[in-house]
Symmetry: C2
Subunit: 111 residues, 2 copies
């Protein structure tokens, strides 16, 4: 399969990880071509760590692996959406999802 | 509110747009500080178009606006998750969600 189409704009593509069972968005991480290839071959998520500059098999040390159920690219092939069966929490903080920092709207609702 | 914390790594932060009612992930787009500020103030999504290099009020011309219900940053403040009430399709192709290009796994399931 030609994966180059997903890396036209950048060497890294953002991958949204969504829990299949609940629809909850768990995290976003980046894949390079090699990590996407490993994800497709193994059926578990592999990412590219921008800070460590290396491939990263999610859950390899913690056991909190993500079994891939589906992968879809978006309309212009620059983002991936991956549904998974998550073992344990997805976030390194121990939270189920990484998205726990609420930002308050400043809308002055007149209604 | 100090938005600078969301733009430490980059001038643009990826924003995952999720339909509140269904949990469906609709699209991913990028915000700069100004578009995040406008989103917080107006309660509707504003993005920064990387190709056009300008602010973009989602749905301003098509009518397919996104009313913001919640915004959360992730554990390291480099991604946003925004739940919305979507009017019409989210994708410029007319599809409800931008994520319609399935990528097949290559896993050889022995079980």
């Amino acid at each position: 399969m030609n994966l180059a189409q997903y890396f036209q704009k950048s060497e890294l593509i953002p991958a949204i990880i969504q829990e299949n069972k609940t629809g909850e968005v768990l995290m976003l991480a980046y894949m390079n071509s090699e990590s996407l290839q490993k994800t497709l071959e193994t059926g578990y998520t592999w990412f590219y760590s921008r800070s460590r500059q290396e491939l990263w098999n999610k859950g390899a040390t913690s056991g909190h692996v993500q079994k891939v159920l589906s992968i879809s690219a978006d309309c212009d092939n620059d983002t991936l959406l991956i549904t998974v069966e998550q073992t344990g929490p997805a976030c390194h903080t121990g939270a189920k999802s990484c998205f726990f920092n609420k930002i308050e709207l400043q809308v002055n609702e007149q209604q």
